[in-house]
Structures are given as C-alpha cells and as structure tokens.
Point group: C3
Chain length 326, copies 3
C-alpha cells in the first residue's frame, strides 16, 4: 500500500470493514499496540479451533497469495502456504527468483506491481533491509514482510509473543531471558520491542562480541524495564519464565579459540533444564544446530515445535485480517 508505515495500525483511519486491518501492510512490529496484538491473538485462537475441528475453511476462497521468496526459507514459506490453503485460498509460489526476471535485472517495484496483477496479497522475503517498505510503497495490494535481511520479521515476533501467552497464560510482568547471538538476531530485537508493551523484565545472555545492540538496550531503558546482561545462561536460568534461545554461529568469531571458550555456555541440556522453573517455557526460532540438545525435546517445557504450529495460526489470522475476512 502506498503509505508510510504507521507507528500503530490503530491510528490509521478506519477502513470500510471497520476493524483497521483490511488492506493494511504488515511490515514491522512497531505497527502493533496491545489492542491490535490481543485482537490478532484472539483470531489466531479461532484459527487453531478451526484447524483442529475441520482442517480448513472457505474464508479466503477466491483469494490468491503470491509467496515471493528472494532467499529460501522452507519454514516461513511453508507456513504461509499452509495458512493460506487452510483458509481456502490459493498460492503462487515464487522461490526461484534468482534465476528468473530478477536475473534479467527487473527491479523489486516492477516485480511487485506485476505479481499484484495476479494476486490479492504478497508475502515477501528479501535479503535487503527496507525491501518490504519499498514493496509496500509501490503496491496497491497488502504486503506482508516475511523477513527483510537484518531488518524485521514481524510475523516471527508475533508468533513468539503468542506462544508465550499460550504457554504461560499471560505475558505481563514475565522475566524473559534471551540467549545466544543477540547482536545479529532480528528475532530477539523484534520480540524485545513487543515485550516492552507488557512490562517484561529481561536477561540478555550472550558472548561479549554478540551483545544486544545499544539501540535496543536504549529502548529498554527508556521504557524503564528492568534488564541484566550476562555471558552465562546459568546466571539467569533459575529465574527465567521464558528462555528464548538462538544460535551462536562459529562464523561470527574471528578468534576461534574465543568461540571454543564460550560455546558451551549457550547449549541447553537436560542438566541446564533441571535448574529452570517448573513452568518455564523454552523457545527457539529454529532451525537449531545443537543449541538445544535432542534430549530436551521430551521436556514438557520445550515449546519450540508448538511455536512452529502457532506460526501457522498467526499467519492465518494476519492473512484473514488484511484481506478483510477476520
């Protein structure tokens, strides 16, 4: 849509469907205030019931989604494809863009304006920060940002927050520990911003070179939210209500001995889990490569596959909302 990203969707003028979602882009977590979050979570609950009882519905019959992935992401593209199809809609999958028009030099605005001739909504994954905003500037149809490089991945942040609420029954006042690569992980940045609306307190656990960026920490401070920074998960495991784990990539270290020295501080094992609260919830955006050992999977607190499932419900809710059918 040819509009700048609003700070809050609710501040836009009401659309003709009357709920402020119809025709909107989903570009950034900054669009979501608490009423908007609660609304979308409520719709996601309905979607879960629908899938468990009926498998699918006809809500989006006659609608077409263009799933435009400039870089591969099986998890995210499959999640959107399943979400659209379980609502009775259809999907055009465009995964091979690097081989196609794009390699003939076509610009993102032209590709977007082409696809919106065929589709009712476009999901875009792109390696460059800001790509989703550029797409939205040119498009008449709604754009959903499915990750734009080091920028945002708002549907991931929404499903993370929704999972916390599902697992613990509430979000307000929780102590959330984020573990691993906090510097480059857009997931933890976006989730932190959402949690600031819920009076959360934070533990940021990372190697020294992968600390949470200053601008995020400044936002936390500005909200007056309590936070601590540490390099060892054992410092915080006993108090966390949520343990959100991300991958520490070897490639981030120029000095490999440094990596070897710290890596074991960021691996969640049954031994680590024994130190955690009985009702803690353990999350991971996946894929994981050893950060949580397989032995943990059977622990009832291990929520990462339920997190994946919640992603489908959140995306069903968003698709229905922006197409005026929620």
């Amino acid at each position: 849509m040819r509009n700048p990203v609003p700070e809050v969707v609710g501040s836009r003028p009401a659309d003709h469907v009357g709920n402020g979602w119809y025709g909107q882009d989903i570009l950034s977590v900054r669009q979501f205030n608490r009423p908007k979050l609660e609304y979308i979570f409520h719709v996601a609950d309905d979607m879960r019931s629908l899938v468990l009882r009926f498998g699918s519905a006809d809500l989006l019959q006659g609608k077409v989604l263009a799933n435009l992935f400039y870089e591969p992401s099986t998890r995210t593209s499959s999640s959107f494809a399943a979400a659209m199809q379980r609502l009775g809609g259809r999907v055009i999958a465009i995964n091979e863009v690097v081989y196609s028009s794009v390699s003939k030099g076509e610009s993102l605005p032209d590709t977007i304006r082409t696809l919106e001739c065929y589709a009712d909504v476009i999901v875009l994954r792109h390696p460059q920060m800001g790509a989703a905003q550029i797409a939205a500037d040119y498009a008449r149809k709604p754009i959903i940002n499915a990750g734009d490089g080091v920028g945002e991945h708002p549907t991931q942040a929404l499903l993370d927050l929704y999972t916390i609420q599902q697992e613990l029954g509430r979000v307000d006042g929780l102590r959330v520990a984020m573990v691993g690569d906090l510097k480059y992980g857009r997931t933890v940045h976006s989730l932190t911003r959402l949690l600031l609306q819920y009076n959360a307190s934070f533990d940021f656990v990372s190697p020294e070179i992968l600390r949470m960026p200053v601008e995020i920490v400044e936002e936390v401070k500005a909200h007056g939210a309590p936070y601590r920074e540490t390099t060892n998960v054992l410092d915080v495991i006993g108090e966390a209500d949520v343990l959100y784990v991300t991958r520490v990539q070897k490639e981030r270290f120029t000095d490999l001995s440094q990596y070897e020295a710290v890596k074991d501080c960021y691996i969640i094992t049954p031994e680590v889990m024994r130190l955690a609260k009985a009702h803690m919830t353990l999350m991971h955006p996946l894929p994981r490569v050893g950060e949580i050992t397989y032995e943990v999977d059977g622990d009832p607190r291990a929520a990462y596959f339920r997190q994946v499932e919640n992603g489908m419900y959140i995306r069903m809710a968003l698709l229905a909302a922006v197409l005026g059918k929620a």
Copy 2:
C-alpha cells in the same frame, strides 16, 4: 494433440462442445483469425468481471494444469498459475526440470506423455523453437505454448492485442510503432502478424543491426499494410496510436561505441511522452531495464501493468476454452 497446426482453428472440424476450441493446442498466432480473436477477447472480458466481482469461480474444478517450464519465467508461469486457480483448477508446477528427469536424459515426448497422465492441460515453456509443436505431436491433452525459444509466444501476442483493444476501444486502422530490438523480439513478430488482420499501419523503430526481419516485413508488404522503418523514436512519436517498446540489449552489439551512440533513441521519458498523442497507449512486454523511465509510470497512457493484468484474463479464457468450459 496429434495434429499438425492448422492455419486457422476455425477450419478444423467442430468438436463435440461445438465451439472449435475444446481439446485444441495453442501453439501459434497463425491459428487465430478475427472471429477466433474476438471470441477469446469476449471470454476474457467475462473473466475480468468474474475476478473483479468474485475473485474466482468453479469453472475448472477437478481440472489439473501442469506448468512445465524448462527455463524460468516468473511472469508467465505465475500468470498461468493464477489463471488456473482463479477458475477453481489445480496446478502442478514443474520449474526445476533442469535438475530432474531431464538431466537424466529424458526426452521431451516422454516427459509430456508422463505429465498428461496426471494433468488435463500442459503449459510448456522451452528454449528450443518448435518444442511446443513436438509436444503437441505426442500429447493426447492440449498443449499451450508459453514460449519456445526464438519461435512463438502466442499468449503474449494475444494479451498485447487485447490490451490495445481495451485501451483504445478498437484495433482497426491504428498506427502502431514498435521500438527497440525488432530482430530477436518474438513478441513484436507475433503481434505484427495479428495486427495484419486489422488493417494496422506500422512504424518499425530500431538500431540498424536490430531491424525487423525480412520475412516479417515481406508479410507486411504482402498484406499491403503501410509501414516505415526508422532509427529514432522521435520520428514517429507524434503519430503513433500505440507505442510498443522492447529492450535494446547491450549484448547484441559487437561494437559498444555503436550501442552508446544509439541507446538514448530508445528510452521513453516524460519528455518523449509530451510529444505523443493524448490517447496513445504505451506498452512493454516486461521486464524492462531502463527503456521506460519510472517517471512515466504515472502517465495514464502507460498501459504496461494493465497489460500484465490482461494476461491473466486471456490465459483464463484460453484455459477455459481448450478444456471445453468457455
């Protein structure tokens, strides 16, 4: 279908549906006389109404399209996929053929005879001229040619002609300027052939080395259609009813100084547009890489994205026709 390409579809014996389309292949613009063109444009009009009112229909429910692309073309494959799905049909996308059976050496006839076991109609894009005809020779199910190398791309030519009619309300007697690479552009060759049925007159605007091929010019002469050839768009811009722009590729020139000398004669800017008629229509098969500047996009005469949309309606009409449901 195991039949040679007829010069005109209408000359074939009537099929049991009675409109001459059921079960036919779409291989070449030579199949289309004026009654056939007008019929398919009429169906395309209905498809537009259907999409604008309902999004989709059940016309092709139970039908399966195999979208077989031996070379990538996001635009064309997405257009067919959307067309089929908006008519209630299903799509099997085969984009990765280079990695697959084909790399095990399977012949086109065997691939076609395999896919027709699963599908009701096959759309084929292939790098070699004549591939669509070979496929049709072996297939029991209808084949739609979605581009066979330097051969034909008939659905593109149909959507181009349909766009002219949509934009200007008529085709008869128009002055059509074709600009850019007229030598290798199968698009302009096919469109010229269709326009000869409508008493069009032509301006062929190209660098010397990229002139319209002799055999096309001979066809124009044989029809007694007025035509001019020139190297500069400014020579013709004031009189054109249609300006059809294609890309002049640097790679075509062995002497790059020659390219540098001529390239600016083929770029459409707001300044060039100021010299054009108020009701001219500006078209491009896309993707564009600078031949029409972004500043022109807002000009109401810029029809290239409406052209894309028309492509979906034309393909819906063709799919419905060859499956006996138009």
Copy 3:
C-alpha cells in the same frame, strides 16, 4: 508415526476407522500382505473411475500434504501432487531443500517435526537409505516413503504390481522377466518381493556385473519360486508374461568395451517384441534413455505410460487410506 515398521500392516492394532490404514506410515513393501494389496488395488480402481468421470473429488478437502523432496524427481513429486489435488487436498511443495534450512544444517527429524505442524501427511524423497524410517520415528503424522536412496520406493512397487494386474487380469503364477540393471535397481528388488506373494516365476536378465543381489535371490529361493539368470533378453522373451525393463547405465562399467559388448542385449525393439507373447506386458519405471525404442510405443503391449497413470491412482488410494478416508 513413532512405531517400528511392522512386517505386515494388518498385524497392527485396529485404528478407530477400523481398516488398519488410518495414520499408518508407508515405508516398505514388507508392510503389504495380499489382503492389504488387494484392498489398496480395489481403492485404486475406484480412484480411476472417479478421475475419469469427475476429474476430482472432495474426499481430502481440508487436508494438506507436504511434498518434501531432498532430491529432484519430477515424475514422483508430480504424481503425488496430482493425486492429492484430485482428492480435494492441498499441497506444500518443498523441492529446494538443498538451498534452505537444510543448508543451514537442520536435521531431518527437525524438518519433519516442523512440516507436520503445517501438514497432515508428509511424502519424503531422500538420498539416504533409512531416511524414511528415521522420519517416521519422529513424526506424529503419516510418512510416505517416495524413495530413500538404495533403500525402498514402495509406491513404485505397488503401482508396478497394480499395472500387471490391470494389464493381464491376474498376477498369480505369471512368469516375470526383469531386464537391465538388477544390482542397483531398487524398483526390481521391491517388485520381486511383492511378486513372491503371488507364486510368480522369475527370469533375471542382466550383464554379469549387474546381477540381482544375492540377498534377493536367496529370498526367491526361500519361497521356492522358480527363477533363471541369463545375460540375454532373447533367452527369455518368448516365455515372459511380463517384461520389466530398466536402464543399463554406461557409468556402471569400469571397462567400456564390456559395456559396448553387452548393451544391445538390453534394448527392446520391434524385432524383439515380435518374439514375445501376444499378451505379454512391457513395463519400464521411466525415465528411459534408449532401452526401449520409440517404435515400440505404438505396440499395444507397451504399458509404461499406463503404468505412469496407475501411479496416480495408487497414490490417491494410499493418501486416502492413511488419512482415514478410503
């Protein structure tokens, strides 16, 4: 499903649908005894009628198939995609796994547990033997093995057996000649195992270095089934009820003169066909690269494209069965 592969599906406790198929994995031909085979062939017959009369049905409406291919196979993936869609279900195609999460190092169990959050059934093609069993060990949803390296490809064996029954009206007591690469061809191994339930006798025709593996021959012996081994198809052509041809790959020979010396013994031409029974059936799993010449295609005994079509009906039957809708 988290269960070991049973020798026979029927030996599992009855499920709530009552036919022993609901929720089952399809991993190996060893799961299929004669009653199970006859049941699935009966359902496949119904599927054929359904497709010929109506094109599709709503049996699997609301169900989603994840078509997970770690190596390309146009034929098999298209067959499953068409099968699912002709039953009213939806498909998520994951063909580009090498570029995706997997290249980020995600394990097969994690990919499977992710996709089952979106889908109701997973079809898996994987280059490593045993991969389908691993997937089934971790999955809650049914896994269908679409080929696991040199392991099994059970749906191919089922469609082969079904084709024999369709072409000849029976399977019991037939003389089946298998020709070509019998060492590496998992197809002929699985088919042999199934045929042992039907008192078949066997002719194994291959170059010396590509003979049927000892363990298969031992199974044949243990069943007391008559068998012969030879290097020339002419030795057996006159007596065969079924001639099952596979490709002899040049690459298997270290001594190319050896290949040149034998290759013509494994090419089926009209001259070879003249020596065969009037009611023999000629089969090939495809793709072929010269093992059967094009001149043979018109012979009514050439069943390989009907074999392809049968594959879709068998896969429709299996999908309906494991989803409790057969």
